[in-house]
Amino acid sequence: MGRKKMRNVTFGSIWCSVIAFVLALLLVLNNTAMSFATIISTALNQPMSMIVDIEGGEQGDSEYFESAYTLEELGGETARVSEEIEAEGMVLLKNEDGCLPLGPDQRLSLFSESTVDMLYSGTGSGQVSTADVPTLRQAFESVGYAVNDTLWSFYEENHGQYMRERMSWNPFDNAQGVYRVNECPAREYTDAVRASFADYGDAAVFVFARSGGEQNDLNLTSDESGGSFLSLTDDEAGVLQMLQDDPAFDKIIVLVNTGNMPELGWLEDYSKIQACLWIGYVGQGGLNAMAKAFTGEVNPSGKLPDTIAYHPDAAPAALNTDDNTYTNTAEIEARYGAFSVPSAYHYQNKYVAYQEGIYIGYRYYETRYEDRVLGQGNAGGYDYAATVQFPFGYGLSYTRFAYSGFRAEREDGAYTVTVTVTNTGDVAGKEVVQVYAQKPYTDYDRRYGIEKASVELVGFEKTALLEPGGSETVTVTVGEERFKSYDANNAKTFIIDEGVYYLTVGTDAHRAVNNILAAKGKTAADGMTGEGDPALTAEFRLDFDAETYAVSDATGYAITNQFDFADLRHYWEDVVYLSRSDWEGTFPTHLQLTAPPQLIDDLDTEATYLRENPGDEAPVMGRNTGIQLITLRGAEFEDSQWETFLDQMTAQEMFELVQLGGWRTMETPSVGNPGATDQDGPQGISASIGGIAESEGIRCMAYPSTIVLAAAFNKDLARRMGVMIGEEALYADVSGWYAPAINMHRNAFAGRNFEYYSEDPLLSGVLAAQQVLGAQSKGMYCYIKHFALNDQETNRHSYSSFANEQSIRELYLAPFEMAVEEGGARAVMSSYQRIGAYWAGACAPLLTTVLRDEWGFSGTVVTDSANIGYANMHILSGIGAGNDMWLNTNADNYVVKDLTARPTLLNALRRASHRILFNVVNSSAMNGVSQTAEVVPVTPMWMTWLYIADAVVVLACAAGGALVIVRTVRNKKEDN
């Protein structure tokens, strides 16, 4: 019996449905591919334009930036720098009885699940390639150590069950998930594993690791520890207790593999823990350097870039972080709609209150300590010794250093601090000379709400490697501007207060305070934690001055309040900032704020949209003046040729330059703009959202995380890392670097602390400036980020930051200012969140008044990643405020209709195009573009293949349709 023939209608329905689905799929794929053509081309390294020399000029004439290395040499040099950063950045926190170095030929047992899953970087855009990194075991074996294989295999085998749970970088998980340690409990260790300890008992190395990353802050509470994610978990404590009880070991060495400063009070709970080394996130070379520190080949010289407190969650800033929602959120949502995905993270109902003012990190811990000793400021029962475990700037060495010959001399508005450092120990080592200043806290300050920390880092230098008995006289120059303070309530500008100023050198911030207290006649009997050394201090008396620093040194622009609208008191008059005049009475609480009607009005994103000015005329566009971009290479920003050049650009060309700046700068063939590739991130360009920088056979280096670089306190090293990034970029055809990241470590739980330097603005700014100088010397332009006040991840897309002007200027803008004025940074990345009620990218006081008018910046400002059509990040919202480019690859986002009917917008687009192209023409992106070259558009290979695939699919669908018709007709004839 034959198979029953399918009815025509059934056959046709099935086939036509399949064809309809395939066509829909094809359309969606094509739409998506075309919308993201620029980023796909960038990722595949298939440019959409090519450089053609129309008169046969030699390419060699146009290599404006050349590498100083062959590719092979470069690989070796970047590896050396990566290892050197770790060697100088790891911080020896504890070393009882000379536990470290262990010396050669040791047999080690490595403990904790993290040993087989070390953290080389954080997650998100700052992550790096781990393709070539050594394991912890390989690192130890490379220095001749034997590693307990039974234990190692045990961890590897159970790693699926006990592996760390990291926060995903999924935007739909925004701050909703948890980080988990998920350590293998002691009860799981088999008898065979325990029996292996004795043969590898020279030391037990315990790895304490905590992941962190973009999009999510670390959890302030944890069901694993009863404390926070930065606390020791119960299972980790169980393993440590097992080691404490096991006679196979007489010493435990702890490696702290974190990008955030954790709670380490437990180091004191186990007598066998004799040494502790903070190594940060280690990049490619870090573990090798760490292993060499075990043998003694490397002597740690890092100093803490953040204070380590016993309970960082009790710091004043930590009380107002994480997720904060206005109490009347229903009222706000009634006006603007509720937050929802995919309406693009448009929060109006979230905020962060910087109620602590300037008192973050050591500025809080050390200032309250001084006031407690001096019996002033209602410091209450503050117990420094029970609060701070390791102060800012702290770090041990395998040797000892003595300081002598301290001098501080004032000359021509600057102070020269000189001190001789002598290595009095038995092995060679480096020392960091840290110079701190104390500004007087006066009645004027109390009256006008100006706050002063007891000490501020105002300069530092690292010695060369000093052999035993060797010495070096170190000179640190401190400009008088380091003594200025921002007076937001009376002078409304920077002032120098009248009174006595101190300069001192200290091995950490706490020693510095103690030196100054000693100079004031205080001793341990007054409640000091130790004796200070008054011989290491100098005093100066300055008069009140509200003029010298009231104008910008860079531009002469008058400096006055710009951020009154971001002050908590702008909307809530009764809010009090933390003040050293009354610690107990002003200590922050978890602020529960209700948005007043004015704030609800101000949160209206469209209120900041660029309005067309009826008097404006459209700029000249599309006029062929024959000037190619290359002819403006080296021309001043103000050069009149720019105007003639810009006359050539069409409205659409200018708009695309602004709109499509995601991981690249768009090419404009008509004016000879070849475009440029931009890449993440601060630890190197080895892996990026915009593609892996691996062209010309280069795999770029994964450097240790920025916080490790900060701990090195080494300006030269920071600059060398910048140079290496620039060198790699030349081979990888990358011109823009989304780094350095200079936000502050406002609290220990911020997800991206590993990418940022420190809790101190000077350390951050000095090192960032050096990195910028290094990278830009090779033709890169550095997008310093995230500008500004984006110091946490939770709700980062549009929460409102509220802070007073003094803390904004002295803490949060200061490092950016140094990177611009001292480093010459040519690009800036604005941040996601709001400053007060307004998106940072639409904040003219920030992006125009401060950045350009005060600091003299003439480069490009790009948004943070804007691939989702964020409602509050519209081009109309930011372009007028000074934001030039959108880090967006989707041509369907931020579309503005009727461009040519918007003269005000066209003028803004022209200004932005000027800034963008000024950057491009002076960068390595012009390598290969000679005076006789043209940039011509080309169809990248992937697009050609896509078109071929389209044709094949369409033909197949047509054939399918024909088949249906033929079958129907044939069946009809047979039926007849």
């Binding site: 036509c16 995919p342 959202i689 989702i868």
Partner: protein, 96 residues
């Protein structure tokens, strides 16, 4: 009911309406007007289904009814697939 005259339905209704709805739905779908597109395609499909089901009792061109039904069904599949796949692509972009 032999002898009862059948109602005569022109091809313009049984085929033309679903076809028209199908074309309109596809156009609206491509313009991202997903909801009206789905409504139109579904309406066209409904007409096609009714025409097919009632074909035995009504006087109409069966071939036209089938053509209308297949067109409307294809439009429905296209519009829904396009909307769903576009959303999936959007989600993929978000993750990226």
């Amino acid at each position: 009911m032999a002898g009862t005259p059948k109602t005569s339905i022109p091809d313009g209704v049984t085929c033309g309406l679903p076809m028209l709805a199908a074309v309109a739905a596809v156009v609206l779908g491509l313009l991202n007007a997903t909801v009206p597109a789905v409504i139109l395609a579904a309406a066209g499909l409904a007409v096609g289904v009714v025409a097919l089901a009632a074909g035995e009792r009504l006087s109409l061109g069966k071939r036209a009814a089938r053509l209308g039904f297949v067109a409307a069904l294809s439009a429905c599949v296209f519009v829904v697939a396009y909307a769903v796949l576009s959303y999936v692509a959007f989600l993929a972009v978000q993750s990226f």
